[in-house]
Point group: C2
Chain length 181, copies 2
Amino acid sequence: MAHISVQEGLPGIRSLVMFRPETGQHLYALAQVLLRGESPLSEAERELIAAYVSSRNECMFCMSSHAAAARYLFKDKKQVVDIVLDNYQSAPISAKLKALLNIAGKVQQNGKAVLPEDVEQGRNNGANDRDIHDTVLIAATFSMFNRYVDGLASLTPTHPKEYEVMGERMGTIGYALPVKI
Amino acid sequence: MAHISVQEGLPGIRSLVMFRPETGQHLYALAQVLLRGESPLSEAERELIAAYVSSRNECMFCMSSHAAAARYLFKDKKQVVDIVLDNYQSAPISAKLKALLNIAGKVQQNGKAVLPEDVEQGRNNGANDRDIHDTVLIAATFSMFNRYVDGLASLTPTHPKEYEVMGERMGTIGYALPVKI
């Protein structure tokens, strides 16, 4: 049960933004621009970074839902998602994306863990300022979402089918506040 | 020097929201509602929680600027800020605020570290759902800001006077995006 009185049956962050839509609207708007707005990174890659950071924070709700969104967006290459979550170094992804996942993992620990050589490794593999910026902000943002969702013990569905449905919704509709304020 | 090309001389998050105002606008809007909007916690208490979490994350820029804002807002009780940052258990603050700082510290570690007994301790000292919600979201949000600011190695001013000026601006004007988009 959640630590505060939220609407029963609503999973994860959905129950929290319904509890306090005044803050929720900005959380969803941020997710929409960051994960669906213009970026040198594809939507699938950005969802993958979100799932990877959530996995490192052991946030089951965010990890499962964003992994499902990434699988939906990677289409016939969707098997890449689970390989990355298991060990991204062995995944069939670009050296640039591996370098960005390394940076995201550093941000998950602490911002200061990102060293000039981590950024250099990204640039040597084709990452530009926007790739690096978006990676750091996605990793920072999910360090927030993960803590919001777990810090209030919001509902974490356990059935994979529920996440599959969520992933398809996130991959098509994106992030729209489920309530008018 | 920052890891990406941002406008020289702009400190901390200010340089990053100028680099990418499309995401920056939602970060500032979130800070404004969360730290200045309606809440059972005073603006001073919310800035104190923000400074405390930033201190635990060793983010000098966020810690120094939000501590300065808290000092400005606490007025003639401003000495409380430095006592809290040193050891909040010894500070002349309410048992409720101590219980909320305990929760904020748990969120800073990991959302799952918040246990039912931490929440119970808050409730026994007068915290309601909104106190607990706002505390968790402030702690989660600063776990993001701290990582964004340090993960991109943005400029951290070293002179206390600069933070004093920032703190007064944050305590009066609040959080308004410094650029039109």
